[in-house]
């Protein structure tokens, strides 16, 4: 099976969240001290693709749409075992909405004949939760979302979808198809030293977004203003030395909440 995995580079979970309050960048995210990582469900999607290949043969191709820094997620994917990688490159690609990102992916893979396309179910930065399904529509192929198990069957796949509140559901669909993968579908592997070495000789193709005609001008939604959410609840905040905070907290648990 030939599997494409879409990996997005997103700000690290512990990245500082700061928004410019004035000037030309007012309402924009200040990304100066921000580190980046692979979007979490995408890492699970890659792992699932690698496991499918190890069990049933085939090829795993990693793809990202993003600025030069995003190549890091592809290098990691190659080190973990992807066969080759495609980087859709452009300086302003961090500003794409899910529709434009899906356009970029569909144009970059035109004619490549993937049997399965894996995306994560949601990105940690924009959190649209849409790119995979939009991509399936653009490609005119079926999709299934929030996947917790993948099993090839004749002519297609049998998947386990997560539903709300602890329910699941099995679904069979013909390939080619897009699956959006949920975190926790498998256990992630680490790249080995050997893998990191081998990755250096694996093909990493670059396509410029401009060549594909992809720019933020394709976007169908735009962020007008970004802000740190205003707190509405009156939370009693305890700050100070840890021992002091612990003492105050214990007193509150005893006297007000009466759980001690």
């Amino acid at each position: 099976m030939k599997i494409l995995v879409c990996l997005k580079q997103v700000p690290a979970k512990d990245a500082p969240v700061k928004v410019a309050s004035d000037g030309a960048n007012a309402g924009k995210w200040i990304r100066d001290d921000v580190g980046y990582e692979t979007n979490e469900p995408d890492a699970y999607a890659l792992e699932e693709a690698l496991r499918q290949k190890e069990a049933h043969g085939g090829e795993v191709v990693a793809l990202t749409v993003g600025p030069a820094r995003a190549a890091q997620v592809l290098r990691e994917a190659l080190a973990k075992g992807a066969d080759r990688a495609v980087h859709v490159l452009g300086d302003d690609l961090a500003a794409l909405d899910s529709y434009a990102a899906a356009e970029a992916i569909s144009r970059a893979i035109a004619g490549q004949g993937f049997d399965l396309i894996f995306t994560g179910l949601q990105s940690a930065d924009f959190g649209f939760g849409q790119t995979g399904v939009v991509l399936a529509e653009l490609l005119g192929i079926p999709h299934s979302t929030i996947i917790m198990q993948v099993e090839p069957i004749a002519g297609g796949v049998r998947v386990k979808r997560e539903l709300e509140g602890g329910f699941f559901q099995f679904q069979e669909l013909p390939t080619p198809a897009v699956l959006t993968i949920q975190s926790g579908i498998n256990k992630l592997r680490y790249a080995t030293l050997m893998g990191i070495k081998q990755a250096k000789s694996k093909p990493l193709a670059q396509v410029t977004a401009a060549d594909l005609g992809v720019t933020p001008a394709l976007n169908r939604q735009a962020i007008q203003r970004l802000y740190v959410p205003v707190k509405t609840k009156k939370t009693e905040m305890l700050t100070g030395a840890p021992a002091q905070v612990a003492g105050q907290l214990a007193a509150r648990l005893k006297n007000d909440l009466r759980v001690i």
Binding site: V17, G127, G129, E137, F170, S183, Q221, L226, M237, L253
Partner: protein
């Protein structure tokens, strides 16, 4: 009929999902703000009747799109049926609950119609004729005012738990129900009935005190810290999803939209950031205490008491204090 707001109802087990009432509340407010007429649309199979329940809400009418191919949910049949209805009616807004089902078909529908879909919306307002939707970004650490580029219909999904379903205005007498003819075809593939995994070994819904750990705990071996705190409080240990995904605690200890929904007397969140999918599982707790080193963490929004600092220092000290108080 350009000035129409359509709410697409959602069914669960042949009945109206509770989230539909929440979307109706949001849509009634939008209708009041814009002067647009609100109608409620049900997609249903021949044996279903969501419309009777929908007719109890104040609206300009209920629309019934009934067809064999809609008896079981499929993204393709939903997309086709909605394309047919929307192409005829040309509404300005189409609202859904931000449910797993909406995630599954709404991006396809909006794309087929060449329109934007703004997902997970917490507020909608109209300013100088422009519709502005607020939505969380970066797992709730930021919020974004987002606008539609292009023409209506504007597709929006409303975050579950933001609007109160019990505040949806009721109609004095049931509103009229009319039929919308649709001829969808189910997509390829086969869908089986929903099921639950084997019964939970622990029933967190019965716990009076829960200590929930998040990724701030860093390593499996550090769970002991939280376990000791739980023991001192006579409570159960629970976790955010990433902790269960990593296999550090079994799945049945997970709290949130894909885990258990709990409402203990006391919920202590330790190193949990407070993403919406976690919050929906514990918001009903009588008291919430959060320990987090990030004073801006969204978990503090639902906390009664927030302790800002390093959990590796605060939790052991707190456990010791509690044990002292217990003995004293």
């Amino acid at each position: 009929m350009a000035d129409e707001i359509l709410v697409v109802a959602e069914s669960r087990n042949q009945q109206l999902a509770p989230s539909t009432a929440e979307v109706v509340t949001a849509a009634q407010k939008l209708a009041a703000d814009t002067g647009a007429e609100l109608r409620l649309l049900a997609l249903e199979g021949p044996a279903e009747d969501l419309c009777a329940a929908l007719a109890g809400f104040q609206s300009a009418g209920v629309l019934r799109a009934r067809h064999e191919a809609l008896a079981a949910y499929s993204p393709e049949a939903y997309t086709q049926a909605l394309v047919q209805v929307l192409s005829r009616r040309q509404p300005r807004y189409v609202l859904f609950a931000h449910s797993y089902r909406t995630r599954d078909f709404a991006p396809r529908l909006a794309t087929r119609m060449g329109r934007a879909f703004i997902s997970d919306v917490t507020a909608v307002r109209v300013e100088n004729g422009r519709t502005i939707a607020s939505r969380p970004m970066f797992e709730g650490r930021l919020a974004a005012d987002t606008v539609f580029l292009g023409e209506p219909p504007y597709f929006l999904s409303v975050q579950i738990g933001v609007f109160r379903g019990d505040q949806a205005a009721r109609a004095a007498a049931p509103v009229a129900i009319s039929d919308e003819a649709v001829t969808p075809a189910a997509g390829p593939g086969k869908t089986e009935a929903p099921f639950q995994e084997a019964k939970h070994a622990v029933d967190l819904t019965q716990a009076a005190v829960i200590v929930a750990v998040g990724r701030g705990i860093k390593e499996a071996k550090n769970l002991e810290l939280a376990q000791k705190l739980a023991a001192a409080l006579g409570g159960e240990i629970a976790a955010s999803r990433p902790i269960c995904d990593s296999g550090w605690l079994p799945m049945d200890r997970q709290v949130g939209s894909s885990g258990q929904t709990v409402a203990p007397k006391l919920y202590v969140a330790v190193g949990v950031s407070g993403a919406i999918q976690h919050l929906v599982g514990m918001k009903g707790s009588r008291a919430v205490v959060a320990i987090n080193k990030d004073p801006e963490a969204p978990i503090f929004e639902v906390a009664d008491v927030g302790a800002v600092g390093d959990l590796f220092e605060i939790v052991p000290a707190l456990t010791a204090e509690i044990e002292k108080l217990r003995q004293g």
